[in-house]
Symmetry: C2
Subunit: 96 residues, 2 copies
């Protein structure tokens, strides 16, 4: 099991629209092979900042399965225009 982590900075005044779009987009990942769980968390200290965590069965379920799918094109269309800058995505493995 691995966790995909992305810190998302949303364009000024777009957080509400982003959350609405995300409520749709989350249905896309939740149906992908190897998907386990996700959370979207909003930062308390900084405006328009979010943390996305997605748990996948393996790294490849995210990097190969999801990112090379038609569903990813839908995900992109719904969400990518909200990001500024475009986020760095990293993967983590639980230690404790």
């Amino acid at each position: 099991m691995i966790t995909e982590i992305a810190l998302l900075k949303i364009r000024d005044q777009q957080s509400e629209a982003f959350e609405t779009a995300f409520s749709e987009a989350q249905k896309i990942i939740a149906n992908m092979k190897g998907y386990k769980y996700h959370e979207l968390q909003k930062c308390i200290e900084e405006e328009d900042k979010y943390l996305l965590l997605v748990q996948w069965q393996t790294l490849e379920h995210h990097t190969e399965g999801f990112r090379k799918s038609n569903e990813y094109q839908e995900w992109k269309k719904l969400l990518h225009h909200f990001y500024d800058p475009f986020p760095t995505v990293e993967h983590y493995k639980k230690v404790f």
Copy 2:
């Protein structure tokens, strides 16, 4: 419920010692008032990088209760010398 998030960069070649120290230090937070859950995750793409998530009942359980406690002094002693640079800690609230 809020989540404390810290991206931790560990000094070169110190990750193993950090994990050993953390296995002790985690007992400290787990006994604090308002503590709910924690995870330490290790980055796959970048050497010596970790993500710490701690769930607290309220923001103040972390910022007031824990940070102003004697137990925090123990936590500091065990962990802070591993960090370079010293991490920024932020708090998040779940949206989805």
